[in-house]
């Protein structure tokens, strides 16, 4: 796992301003790579008692087990018992709030995603649909291969896939 392939579908949580004790070494501003909650996990979380410190502590540890991927640059398994106590709480809190926030503000979330896409993502979606290949598999292909497949599809199905046009 490295900086290019960690955190796919995920989030980065830079623990800015903290010197964190991880496996006996102190790291300044470590970056946690994790993922947001699934719909099912969020629904489960909403059903739990989060007021009691004991139950919240247990929930935090269950969630971190599910969503944590790595601290950037640290390859060994993290000893959660020895880490600074609030690190788990902060990571989990960030993940829960962000997951909830994306749903609450879903229109803006969708618009923000739209603005971050460009034509290559649309081409990948077309390749995915017309070659019955899952989108995430297409997304992992080298750019050249995505464009090559698109060219084949466009030449083969000109009625359905219109040629690209240069912007006016």
């Amino acid at each position: 796992m490295n900086i290019f392939n960690s955190g796919k579908y995920g989030v980065a949580i830079p623990l800015t301003g903290l010197e964190v004790n991880i496996n006996g070494l102190v790291y300044k501003d470590p970056i946690c790579i994790a993922r947001l909650l699934s719909i099912h996990e969020l629904e489960r979380y909403n059903n739990f008692d989060t007021q009691s410190p004991q139950s919240m502590m247990m929930i935090e540890e269950e969630i971190i087990e599910n969503v944590f991927e790595s601290f950037l640059g640290i390859t060994e398994r993290v000893d959660w018992g020895k880490i600074d106590a609030g690190v788990i709480s902060t990571i989990v809190k960030s993940i829960i709030i962000k997951s909830q926030y994306m749903i609450i503000d879903i229109i803006n979330t969708v618009e923000n995603y739209k603005s971050s896409f460009n034509v290559i993502h649309s081409i990948a979606a077309i390749v995915s649909r017309f070659s019955a290949t899952p989108y995430d598999q297409v997304e992992n292909l080298p750019i050249s291969e995505i464009i090559r497949r698109y060219s084949i599809l466009q030449a083969t199905f000109p009625e359905e896939i219109h040629p690209l046009q240069a912007p006016e």
Partner: protein, 145 residues
């Protein structure tokens, strides 16, 4: 809102108001501490550094009264929470300070006779440096990649 949340609410303010230093230069700190009675010497400071990885020095009122403390780890925190101490904010703050303050040695008598704001403020500093942050700060940290 539980005690932990209320303690964390103003951690950003704490950071701005109070100098909290993490000491890497042990010798320099040891020299500064020579002015204090029964202060730890360089060997003790080195031992703390080796045991805890890092420790902090802070003052509450910006005066000469300083505290040397460490952060609390998850195992210690779990043990503390499982005693039920977090149900009462004062007890929780006392427990955090007793557990983490390295110098001066905190006694029950010392806690009772200290200025009212010392323990709450010190526990906020300890919890903040142990990684507990407010909801607002937690949300500001996270980035979708």
């Amino acid at each position: 809102m539980n005690n932990q949340d209320s303690i964390q609410d103003d951690e950003i303010e704490i950071e701005e108001e109070i100098e909290v230093s993490v000491y890497d230069n042990i010798a320099e700190l040891a020299r500064e501490l020579e002015a204090y009675e029964e202060a730890p010497d360089e060997a003790i400071l080195e031992a703390w550094k080796s045991t805890y990885g890092k420790f902090f020095v802070s003052s509450i009122l910006g005066d000469d009264t300083i505290f040397i403390w460490r952060t609390i780890n998850r195992t210690e925190y779990k043990q503390m929470i499982n005693t039920g101490v977090a149900k009462n904010q004062n007890s929780y703050e006392d427990a955090v300070v007793r557990k983490c303050c390295l110098w001066p040695k905190i006694t029950g008598e010392g806690l009772a006779s200290s200025d009212a704001g010392v323990v709450p403020t010190l526990s906020k500093q300890i919890l903040y440096k142990s990684g507990f942050v407010s909801d607002q700060m937690a949300l500001s940290l996270i980035k979708v990649i």
